[in-house]
């Protein structure tokens, strides 16, 4: 039964990963061709200040995206799980629909929306809120908007999935025993939904670390992050071994994230 999936995984995941890993130890000639050989230089170079700055940039972007997504996604998931009633399936579907449209097209739509002649500027002018269009494209804020837009559904679903199985009697018991709505949330609902929050954080943080289209399209690519760096190293500088080394590092960061998640999850499960 496992054989077909194992074959697929090997062919499309394991083999490409091994190729990338192998490249990361390889040499190259001055035209960019990969030469056989073994060197650790590609990794050693990553400790240069310029590269470290890229990691800091990436981490900052991923961490703020994750934080904002959780802050918005949790209340949305809470609303759908407990307050929406019969509208819940429709709301979940609405969150899913954007996934049917190509990612680049959706982000390009934001370029149109945020532009000087875009809906937001024109609308604000029409309402008399501002006189001249505000330059929003090419800012860090625009990048964050796009990031949050892209990853928000990924936070809502796992949190929703963690909230719905919580016995409504537990919240009633909280109220019955004297805890107001806020205290019942903090002492009962939130702790019980933590596994979903961890999953949501992971689902956002890991892909955010490797993102590259959004900061380029909306943020103007002013800050170099891991995703851009890999693209530049592979395509512009034709330094495939160096790009592979950055990719492997990114993979390691994701791996550590997943490991932390599993440990946190085990601790929460042990609490029950």
């Amino acid at each position: 039964m496992l054989a077909p999936s194992l074959l697929l995984l090997t062919l499309f995941v394991l083999v490409p990963l091994c190729v990338v890993a192998a490249y990361s130890f390889a040499l190259r000639d001055s035209y960019g061709a990969v030469l056989p050989g073994f060197t650790l230089d590609n990794y050693r170079d990553l400790f240069q200040a310029a590269y470290l700055q890229v990691f800091v940039n990436s981490f900052k972007l991923a961490a703020s995206t994750t934080a904002i997504c959780l802050l918005i996604g949790y209340p949305v998931a809470y609303f759908i799980a407990f307050k929406a009633g019969r509208a819940a399936p429709a709301l979940l579907l609405l969150l899913l629909i954007p996934f049917w449209i190509n990612f680049l097209i959706r982000i390009s739509a934001w370029v149109v929306l945020l532009g000087r002649g875009g809906l937001i500027n024109q609308g604000a002018i029409g309402l008399g809120l501002i006189d001249v269009p505000v330059g929003m494209l090419g800012t860090y804020g625009a990048t964050l908007v796009g990031m949050v837009y892209a990853f928000l559904p990924l936070t809502v679903f796992p949190i929703y999935a963690a909230l719905t199985p919580i016995d409504p009697r537990l919240r009633e018991a909280g109220a019955d025993l004297g805890a107001g709505p806020a205290e019942t949330f903090l002492r009962v609902t939130l702790p019980l939904s933590l596994p979903g929050v961890f999953a949501a954080a992971l689902f956002v943080f890991v892909p955010s670390m490797g993102v590259f289209a959004i900061p380029v399209l909306l943020g103007g690519g002013k800050e170099i992050i891991l995703g851009n760096l890999i693209v530049q190293l592979f395509l512009e500088f034709r330094n495939i071994p160096q790009g592979a080394a950055v990719s492997v590092l990114l993979l390691l960061i994701s791996g550590v994230g997943i490991l932390l998640y599993m440990r946190a999850l085990r601790r929460v499960e042990a609490m029950k």
């Binding site: 537990l170 009633e172 018991a173 109220a175 019955d176 025993l177 004297g178 805890a179 107001g180 002492r187």
Partner: protein, 354 residues
């Protein structure tokens, strides 16, 4: 005396469904009060209204004389023991029990002291650090009880708390709950669909049906003097005998039934010709001499050996079945097929117009 809980003209509707029709009820201080009824009768809705999980559509709810109709659940001086226990799965037993004190900002030392005392009260002092999932159903039940009692509520609401326990444990807990209620002097409002449980534990029982209380009485009153055919049928075992009034007198009626005639004590006898149902408890049916008055002949068709009792089922001459229940004296039970004359005393029969 002012009631522990008072419902004044309380109506509860969910969209188009009326769960409670119009309830006026006073639950006395310190009594063990039971709301009994089949599922959907409104007993749990009444409890949830008192707890504050639901708000009444009309009317007022008073706890200890205070109108709490608009007071949210967390500010009411009542605690609930849930059918599913609703223990917090992420908190230890001790933290579960101290929850009501924690949210009231009781200092830590005092909090732990009181929580331990409550756990001792329900004989669960042994393992305060365990999680609810590590306990059996009966143990969880005890912890839930301790959690609801730790803050000394004025009224304790219990929503079928013994429903999930096996029979033996159930009997034990019934006994313990009743004792605890007497000792603490807290008003218990207990909801159950189990009439035997209601009879065993309660000071008073409200029998509910279709969102209304159809009889409010002591257990013996409810059992001995059911005010309706439904009450007679719902509480305990009852013989139902179809008949017709042939003569109405002062405080009595003469009824034709089981191929004979019976005098029935009855405060407002219906007019002659009315179709009625007579009821009598199986333990009130007695074997009598063949020519005795208020009796009818039948043939034994079934014998159930219950242990303490024997249940003898007779088919009467008109085809009605009458059950007789008598103590097991150790003598050999009668043989199936034997004939017998069954006496139904006028004071033990009850009459309902059908």
């Amino acid at each position: 005396m002012q009631g522990a809980v008072e419902l004044r003209g309380v109506v509860k509707r969910f969209n188009t469904f009326t769960a409670l029709r119009r309830m006026d009820l006073t639950i006395r201080q310190g009594e063990f009060f039971t709301m009994l009824g089949a599922s959907g009768c409104g007993k749990t809705t009444t409890l949830r209204l008192i707890a504050g999980f639901e708000l009444p559509t009309e009317g007022h709810i008073l706890i200890d004389g205070q109108d709490v109709s608009d007071v949210p659940a967390h500010l009411r001086p009542v605690h609930t023991v849930f059918q599913s226990y609703a223990l917090f799965p992420h908190l230890s037993i001790l933290d579960n029990v101290s929850f009501p004190l924690t949210v009231r900002r009781v200092p830590r030392r005092q909090r732990l002291e009181r929580a331990r005392a409550a756990l001792d009260l329900v004989q669960m002092g042994g393992f305060p650090d365990r999680k609810p999932s590590q306990l059996s159903g009966g143990q969880q039940q005890r912890v839930a009880l301790a959690r609801a009692l730790v803050n000394e509520p004025k009224v304790l609401l219990l929503d079928e708390p013994l429903g999930a326990l096996d029979l033996k444990l159930r009997k034990e807990m019934q006994h313990e709950l009743k004792q605890m209620q007497r000792r603490l002097g807290i008003t218990f409002v207990f909801v159950t669909h189990d009439q035997e449980e209601a009879l065993t534990m309660s000071d008073r029982i409200a029998l509910m049906r279709g969102g209304e209380i159809i009889q409010l009485d002591t257990p013996s009153g409810l059992y001995n003097a059911p005010s309706s055919l439904y009450a007679a049928e719902f509480i305990g075992e009852t013989n139902m005998i179809p008949g017709r009034v042939v003569e109405a007198g002062a405080g009595r009626a003469r009824v034709e039934a089981l191929g004979g005639h019976f005098d029935v004590a009855c405060s407002e006898p219906p007019a002659a010709g009315a179709a009625v149902t007579l009821t009598i408890r199986p333990e009130r049916v007695t074997p009598v001499a063949a020519n005795a008055s208020n009796s009818a002949g039948g043939r034994l068709v079934d014998v159930d050996f219950i242990g303490t009792d024997l249940r003898l089922v007779y088919t009467m001459s008109d085809g009605t079945r009458v059950t007789l229940r008598r103590q097991n004296t150790g003598a050999a039970p009668p043989q199936v097929g034997q004939g017998a004359q069954l006496g139904l005393a006028a004071d033990d029969l009850r009459l309902f117009v059908t």
